[in-house]
């Protein structure tokens, strides 16, 4: 049997292997910084918006962000909330972690390139009225950053006019460069991501689409990071407004996540007022998922799923007949395992 002290020693050795205080350390590695970044989403006037800090620098807007300091904050989420509150005076409600990125070369700033930053992205949902106390920051339509995601007026022109041809051209010239880890050939990846040549558009693939454009060097950030300077276009917002650091990637992750999540969790109500009409609810869902897509059956769906209940009140001046007001039925959480707005799309 091992002595107690011996066990302690072993345990300590394990720990040191990790934190690198002994011989196992390879460099005098300046430890990395933890960046917390929040994509705060709301729906205003039936448009999906995100809160950005306008910095007027060359590199575009940024998301609210800050450094995680374990001495100040017990958990990552607490740290995030305090940063956001400090920067925007906005208290957050629903918050969820997205992803942690640490790719070398994707945090470039003009005069201080590639610091060692691990950036942790968060998604927060709020309704714009709760956000009245907000001070700094601007709400911006997320389509400014991702114009190809904007299907409100049918297929976005940029898709077939710019993206498809340039991506295909890139795929041909870089055919050999495709990583073996990617199981699909590049052309197929492009087809699937952007719903070209008969493939169906999947509104959840926001991140995959952005990453493909980055790889192809079509978004400004790729230029900035000097990775694939393959296509030296003039600086422009043609492929969406750029953002600082890797914030556009974080925003893409956020959009993907909300779009997926409202289908199996009742998070859509985080974006609503307490009381709402079914049409308002539908508009909000459409703002997130993309419109022209659902059916009148939407009403029946949410009611029969037990997601909402009538308040008894009515709202007039809707543009037509007065509409019953509804509220979120919190009890669904106790009844169904995965309640959400299970919508299917139509062609009309």
């Amino acid at each position: 049997m091992m002595s107690d002290a011996n066990m302690r020693r072993r345990s300590r050795a394990v720990h040191e292997r990790m934190v690198g205080t002994t011989k196992d350390m390879r460099h005098d590695d300046p430890s990395v910084e933890i960046g917390l970044n929040a994509a705060i989403v709301a729906v205003i006037d039936d448009a999906p918006v995100v809160l950005v800090i306008n910095d007027e620098s060359n590199d575009g807007d940024s998301l609210p962000f800050g450094r995680f300091s374990p001495l100040d904050h017990q958990t990552l989420e607490i740290g995030l909330r305090s940063w956001v509150e400090e920067q925007t005076n906005l208290g957050l409600g629903y918050v969820e972690q997205l992803y942690t990125f640490a790719d070398r070369g994707r945090h470039a700033v003009p005069d201080l390139k590639d610091p060692h930053v691990v950036s942790i992205g968060y998604l927060a949902l709020t309704n714009a009225d709760k956000a009245e106390t907000m001070q700094r920051g601007t709400w911006r339509s997320w389509y400014q950053f991702f114009p190809w995601e904007d299907w409100r007026k049918g297929t976005p022109k940029i898709l077939e006019q710019e993206i498809a041809p340039r991506l295909k051209q890139w795929a041909e010239t870089h055919a050999g460069h495709s990583k073996p880890s990617q199981s699909l050939p590049t052309l197929e990846r492009i087809r699937m991501c952007f719903g070209l040549d008969g493939a169906t558009w999947d509104e959840e693939k926001v991140l995959e689409r952005y990453e493909l454009l980055y790889e192809a060097g079509l978004v400004e950030e790729a230029n900035r990071d000097e990775r694939e300077a393959a296509s030296q276009w003039e600086r422009s917002d043609r492929f969406g407004k750029q953002m600082q650091f890797d914030h556009r990637r974080i925003l893409a992750t956020a959009i993907s996540r909300v779009r997926a999540k409202i289908k199996y969790r009742p998070v859509i109500f985080e974006l609503m007022q307490e009381e709402f009409t079914l049409f308002e609810l539908q508009k909000t869902v459409e703002a997130i998922l993309g419109p022209h897509l659902h059916k009148q059956n939407f009403r029946r769906l949410v009611e029969s799923a037990g997601l909402v209940e009538p308040t008894g009140e009515v709202r007039t001046r809707t543009g037509g007949r007065p509409a019953k007001l509804y509220r979120f039925r919190r009890n669904v959480l106790l009844e169904r395992p995965a309640p959400g707005v299970r919508v299917k799309h139509t062609r009309s």
Copy 2:
């Protein structure tokens, strides 16, 4: 218009606000360490297993893990792969990021409490045959760490005999302590998480269940972290074997994720050989999700979904009639947006 130099300066200011090189810094904060941790999952003899490094210390096994060093590795995933390979000589195939934790007090080691570690969890899937070259490490059934998840022989006894009464007792004594952020009252949370009192068991809620037991001070780790030493039981594995640091939490996250993911992505095939019978496929799905649950219709489902195709060959000595061999149809990826094993449960 702002001068170019001016813009650079502003941009720099933003960056410094984050990395804290100027006045914005609050402490001489020793920067945190990044720990990479892998839950490597396989199915052996119809049982779900995870690769652990047996350290024989007081604190139980650990997952393969290591420190992330941005100088050595371009991305987090590359860093993870190299650590795992170094520790176990095992090359990883499918890898996916899970979650990043940094809760103060959840990385305790006996003699060096609460270092500032941000631990990033990863899920890896492999089939045990590919893992033949493995050197260090042991495959352990994940039910050793989560006995209440083991429904292979019907409802686990520990659920009604131990967990339910002790959690309810805890909920009553700590009624006031429930955080306001949790929307549900503690007793309802318990009911939902563990499928008590008529609620349905949701096999995906592995993490929620573990966290509840941690909060209630029933798992060893809670004791160790000296958070809720409410219940001073003798040290025991009654509520599952403990693991080092926060590794059991990471494993819980991993199990939740696989269980959810096989339903909408064809990741189950990462756990299979190249060729397999439909029954083997079913057994593997059951190993992950929990058994006694599906139907013979499983066969029709996977075939009609286009997930598999016959190889033309046959396997004998199955215990019955020889079975056709199948392989994964990689082309589903080009056809369906979210292919997976869409199984529903039955009572039988």
